[in-house]
Symmetry: C2
């Protein structure tokens, strides 16, 4: 009763007195097979309870309908949204996702890439770990022409495509907004500049300062993991500065650090935005919960994931050619909230 043998196309073939080849073709709606036999086959599938064996198929057809995804970490709002977007797209087209996290460690990223390759994913979606310097570990993919798409934390490479936003422009807008509010000493909390996203945000910040004749000082530029702790630490750093050297605004490269910095400063008695204005990046749920609400950059993980996966699949299906597209830039919008509104006139 239990542990019955697996039902294969051979069983169906025998059952119907036809060949396994016909069954295989019938199952895939090959026009070579008559409507009548196709019907008989699908009926037999029902009555016998046949389930296709994906990897017997993979072995022969050489594609797995599986996409590999490597992310720095699974449990951030942005990343889980991106994964949700990918899953949606993948599911719609009959693809599955194998997901692994590098935990910001190149070595783990390398191992992940190797297993993905061995499992013969049809394509790879990757957002680099913070300390990845080169992408030699992706060579096997390039060699075998397996498409690779970088998303968010991308890498310049002309055989593959990148999906992200214009970080430079977004950071420029944020900084300009703070300047427009009258801020003159704007601190920047940044991430590892090995990653384009943080480098570009830094560049946008600096360019905005320069365009508005404000000096850039290393003292007002902190780099770190942008974690809760990093935010709290930044607050400590600010409080240690003599009051006349303190920033009158903070632009953080993510919302987490911004929020924890705000909480610590508020705890020390500073008022936001009166004493110090704030802006973050990501539009994380916490940005709408903190009081005052945090000005930030809306930047949809879901769209990025969905777009990246859709492009990859279209390429695999031959509908479009990725090699023609080197980068896809999605929109990112400045969301102005109370944390940065010093001029109370909403005009």
């Amino acid at each position: 009763m239990s542990d019955e043998r697996e039902i294969t196309i051979y069983d169906i073939a025998k059952y119907l007195n036809i060949s396994a080849a016909t069954v295989s073709r019938g199952l895939k709606n090959n026009p070579m097979i008559s409507k009548a036999t196709r019907k008989k086959i699908t009926d037999a599938v029902q009555t016998l309870g046949y389930q296709s064996n994906a990897f017997a198929s993979n072995l022969r057809s050489r594609h797995t309908h599986t996409l590999g995804v490597i992310v720095p970490r699974l449990n951030s709002y942005f990343m889980s949204s991106a994964l949700a977007g990918m899953e949606n797209a993948a599911n719609r087209y009959g693809y599955n996702l194998i997901i692994a996290q590098s935990l910001e460690d190149v070595e783990k990223e390398k191992r992940n890439a190797a297993t993905m390759f061995n499992k013969r994913v049809d394509g790879l979606l990757i957002s680099l770990s913070s300390n990845t310097q080169h992408i030699h570990h992706l060579e096997p993919f390039f060699k075998r022409k397996i498409p690779v798409i970088f998303f968010d934390r991308v890498y310049p490479h002309d055989e593959s495509t990148s999906v992200g936003i214009n970080n430079f422009e977004a950071a420029y807008q944020v900084t300009k907004h703070l300047i427009d509010q009258g801020c003159k000493r704007i601190m920047h909390l940044g991430g590892n500049v090995l990653r384009n996203v943080y480098q570009e945000r830094l560049n946008g910040y600096r360019k905005a300062l320069q365009d508005h004749h404000l000096p850039f000082t290393e003292q007002l530029h902190l780099t770190g993991p942008l974690s809760e702790q990093a935010g709290t630490d930044a607050a400590g750093h600010i409080l240690e500065l003599s009051p006349n050297k303190r920033p009158d605004a903070v632009f953080s490269a993510n919302d987490t650090a911004a929020v924890y910095c705000m909480l610590a400063l508020q705890g020390a008695g500073l008022r936001i935005p009166e004493d110090i204005a704030f802006a973050g990046f990501n539009n994380d749920p916490i940005s709408k919960v903190i009081a005052p609400n945090l000005t930030t950059v809306e930047y949809s993980g879901d769209s990025i994931g969905h777009t990246a996966a859709t492009y990859l699949i279209n390429h695999l299906k031959g509908i479009s050619d990725l090699h023609a597209t080197n980068a896809i830039t999605l929109r990112a919008d400045l969301v102005i909230r109370a944390s940065s509104l010093k001029n109370k006139n909403p005009e």
Copy 2:
């Protein structure tokens, strides 16, 4: 130069003048193979750049070293933490994760289960969608003795194991805490009682009321999707009640609904906890950002995911037997914060 043929164990065999069988065994550290040949094989693997083909292997050996994971949605803090925990455990033991989301829809859950089965996952980790009534769609797994572990939103089934927390007890403690603070009209914001987690939280709430001689009234029991919107709506509902019928506390079955309810009530001028105390569930990051901080139940998605995956893998490796274990209950702790502290004496 490009698109070179795949390197197989046959190439290695030819290169070393041994049989493919020996190469296969050598690669898997089969003791039957001498140390010397094993060395030669691993060397040849290096020089030839061999990469194993996972599904050729799967086809014969009938296991994929892949675990299927089906979750209601990927982008919630709890779920993404659970996935992170699973990925950690899986990665450590050489397993991969195929992840799909049901988006709270049984039909999608069914389709997901079917593809997972076809891809021949070695085991399944599943948290049910809110409207799943039965689990006939998991029958193929049971029939073929593929282990299934339910986590968080579990289902009573004696061939499989559940990993979760004691929701009844946690909810009881939360409610009791609110009662101890002097609250007498405690509202409960619950989820779909089709899911054990919400049913049990409701039960714990009711039992605590009963044990403290407080009446349970349907008027103070709202059921919904526990989304941001649901939280806001609940606030609207509360404000519509005549002041003497209003609750003096709200216990929400998740933090999201609690926080958005708080924000709306605060917007209407109510003070928390003086006018109305709050408690949530999950210890979501937003619970530490909202002012006042939200009392909640700490309940580690990471541990649940890690535990569930580890048990599954141990079972697959024959180290332990899942059938002996019907349920695993992890700890959940009441975290008391300002949103529920009406007695200001911390003793």
